[in-house]
């Protein structure tokens, strides 16, 4: 078995990669807000551990910086931001209803198989020690996308988005030992700004729709039903001056 021939650190990389995938599955089935946020934080932590291991095994000191960035951003800042927002919007104990959780988990398993298939040409080509984990990183990204598509609350959609970013970062780490540092910094900056914007959005959504259930966002559509017009409420008569 090839696994037994790898060094203990490479085996640890594979083990932690599998645990990252496991957290993705947990997030798929987790209905309550706070455990979802904590699971996301765990995913970030496990990802940072993998990055440190890869940095050690492949001798790429840049990755230590990336791992530190991941810890600061994905384990501390973003979960803290989401937690504070949940508390502020008084939704930390909300639990949404997933219709068929088992079906969802099986769909996740299907996505793992699909990513394995997609990653085959890459894995064959790569000579890196971590090449087996490329399929897992694609799976984490796709499961994040599934999370965004299927879940109804805004928090779950944001966590799905962040989980996608986790998967992408992971794929960069294991397929190319990380992208150039300036790109990583740019991506991290974008993710941080996106998280802040999401936070602002939650407040706007809550104020406007009185809930963070995105199924309620359905006023704009292509149906022939008359949409609310864009008249300004209480505005002066059309074309006139106040």
């Amino acid at each position: 078995m090839e696994l037994a021939e790898l060094s203990l650190f490479s085996q640890a990389i594979i083990l932690f990669a599998a645990l990252v995938l496991f957290t993705s599955f947990i997030m798929l089935g987790q209905t309550r807000t706070l455990p979802l946020i904590f699971t996301f934080a765990w995913q970030g932590l496990l990802l940072a551990v993998v990055t440190v291991l890869v940095a050690y095994v492949s001798d790429h000191p840049d990755l230590y910086v990336s791992a530190a960035l991941t810890v600061v951003l994905k384990v501390v800042l973003i979960p803290w931001l989401l937690y504070r927002l949940s508390v502020r919007l008084n939704m930390q104990y909300d639990a949404e209803v997933i219709l068929h959780p088992s079906l969802l988990l099986l769909a996740g398993a299907g996505l793992v198989i699909f990513s394995y298939y997609v990653a085959l040409p890459i894995v064959r080509l790569s000579g890196l020690a971590t090449r087996n984990t490329i399929a897992v990183s694609i799976a984490v990204e796709l499961i994040g996308m599934l999370l965004m598509c299927v879940r109804r609350t805004a928090v779950a959609q944001v966590i799905g988005f962040m989980s996608m970013e986790n998967g992408l970062f992971f794929s960069a780490v294991v397929s190319t030992y990380g992208m150039p540092l300036i790109v990583e910094l740019g991506v991290a900056f974008d993710v941080l700004v996106a998280a802040i914007l999401f936070g602002v959005f939650f407040i706007q959504l809550r104020d406007s729709f009185d809930s963070l259930d995105v199924v309620r966002l359905n006023r704009l559509s292509e149906s022939d039903a008359p949409m609310p017009s864009h008249d300004e409420a209480g505005a002066p008569p059309p074309g006139g001056r106040a």
Partner: protein, 490 residues
């Protein structure tokens, strides 16, 4: 301080400044002046590139060649004219009470940051920086789409954020794959494997075909979402119609172009490595689909801005189709189309903004008699729509004609859906437009204060490009065509 640095830093500095003074009347003027300076610098840079050829700068971080320099100039120009329009328009919105002071500051500073991110995306040589700039462009505009804080606006902004976020994440994965393929062939010890110049110069067949085609699919999905290709387009009509009008003008006129530019850059890389024309065929397929579907959707619209957003989707589909087809004639036509569509669409949105202010609503069935009430707006809208529908002697007609010719040369039977699409779109636009312009105005409709100068300038430019393309512009296009498709037209 190179011209490129001036071009990039000016909007950034302006954005920072406007955070503090954006709500004062001075803020609007600062916005305009910043854009004017950016435009001047970009024009100078363009002339420089024209004289001396493509330039690398910033430690090979930035690359200006014939393809993106004219896009940079175009972006700065349309940004400037939209800023000129936006100044009194936003004042009016503040007086109406639709926008508070804080939001006005946000609006002005994000406007400049948006211009900055677009210029960064256009001039970046590093594929990763290109991605970061595209994402930044989305992030800066998301809050602006929801500026009015109505439920529809917030919904539109949320959809925009989520859909573009998902799309652009796929593009990041595509970028990672390109980096992987490049490292595989070029070796892992270099620090320049993400630079477009290096990848393009590496020669044909260097990058592994399986990985590169996979990367292109992801990049097409990712950047294609931002271009507005069907079926990833559903954020576009909402986002373009719910934001303030200057935002619609800039989003429709500029951001779509930048996304298409990114796609074409990537296609140039892929074509060099793949033996088959997979990239071209995919782009043609999605482009044609967008073109036809958007033309059909045009008929069903009740909101004037949504109608013109679908027109944007239609034209972007056409351009994607043309770039996908490749070949010098189609590429030249697509480049020309990028320019004229940008100018015309922004002019139309400006006019539509005034028209909706006049009528007090954006619903098509409630806007009537524009020609009677305020002929300037009526004529502006009429001429703009004629231009965008592809009538001679406007520039859009020339580019569409070139595309038709190119299609008939290489894919003759595809010319039929194209012609049908043109007809359908024309019918859709005019069916809705005619009662708006020539109908009976409702009682009590008064003219509004409207600065139609930017509109006039844009339309005159489009007319000029339709009648005779000036020499320097033509040779610009030719240089870009040479770069993209490897041959000169005719």
């Amino acid at each position: 301080m190179t011209l490129l640095e001036i071009t990039l830093l000016t909007p950034l500095v302006g954005g920072l400044l406007l955070v503090f003074i954006g709500h004062r009347p001075l803020g609007g003027w600062v916005n305009v002046i910043t854009c004017a300076v950016t435009f001047g610098a970009s024009l100078a840079m363009a002339l420089d590139v024209f004289a001396h050829g493509p330039q690398l700068s910033g430690g090979r971080m930035f690359y200006i060649d014939a393809f993106n320099v004219y896009l940079v100039t175009l972006t700065a120009f349309v940004g400037m004219t939209s800023a000129i329009f936006s100044r009194p328009y936003m004042r009016h919105e503040v007086e109406r009470g639709r926008v508070t002071d804080v939001r006005l500051r946000l609006y002005h500073s994000m406007y400049q940051c948006f211009i900055f991110s677009m210029l960064l995306a256009l001039s970046a040589n590093n594929l990763g920086i290109l991605w970061v700039a595209m994402e930044a462009a989305t992030l800066t505009t998301v809050l602006l789409v929801s500026l009015y804080r109505t439920p529809e606006a917030i919904e539109a902004a949320w959809k925009y954020f989520i859909l573009c976020g998902v799309g652009i994440a796929q593009a990041l994965f595509g970028t990672v794959l390109v980096y992987f393929a490049a490292e595989n062939k070029l070796g892992a010890d270099r620090d320049d494997t993400m630079l477009w110049t290096v990848l393009h110069g590496a020669g044909a067949g260097t990058l592994d075909p399986a990985v590169i085609s996979l990367a292109f699919v992801f990049l097409l999905v990712g950047y294609g979402t931002k271009v507005g290709l069907v079926p990833l387009h559903s954020w576009l009509p909402d986002a373009h119609s719910e934001g303030p009008t200057p935002m619609s003008a800039v989003l429709s006129g500029l951001l779509l172009n930048v996304a298409l530019y990114a796609l074409v850059r990537v296609k140039m890389l892929v074509d060099a490595s793949l033996q088959t024309n997979l990239a071209g065929h995919l782009m043609m397929g999605f482009g044609l689909l967008s073109f036809l579907v958007a033309g059909l959707f045009l008929h069903r619209q009740h909101d004037i801005k949504r109608m013109y957003s679908y027109s944007s989707i239609e034209h972007m589909g056409l351009m994607t189709f043309a770039f996908g087809m490749g070949g010098p004639l189609a590429t030249y036509g697509a480049l020309l189309h990028m320019t004229v569509h940008s100018l015309t669409k922004s002019a139309i949105f400006v006019t539509v903004g005034h028209a909706s202010q006049l009528a007090g609503t954006q619903r098509i069935e409630h806007i009537r008699g524009l020609m009677r009430t305020q002929p300037a707006i009526g004529w502006g809208l009429l001429i703009g729509t004629i231009a965008i529908a592809g009538f001679p002697p406007f520039g859009v007609f020339i580019s569409e004609f070139l595309l038709l010719m190119a299609t008939m040369q290489s894919w003759p039977w595809l010319a039929i859906p194209l012609l049908v699409g043109f007809g359908v779109a024309f019918a859709g636009l005019f069916r809705n437009l005619q009662p708006m312009i020539f109908g009976e105005p409702p009682p009590g409709q008064q003219p509004v204060e409207a600065n139609m100068l930017p509109v006039a300038v844009h339309l005159v430019l489009v007319l000029w490009l339709g009648v005779s393309i000036p020499g320097f512009l033509s040779s610009w296009f030719e240089q870009a065509t040479l770069l993209i498709s490897g041959a000169l037209p005719r």
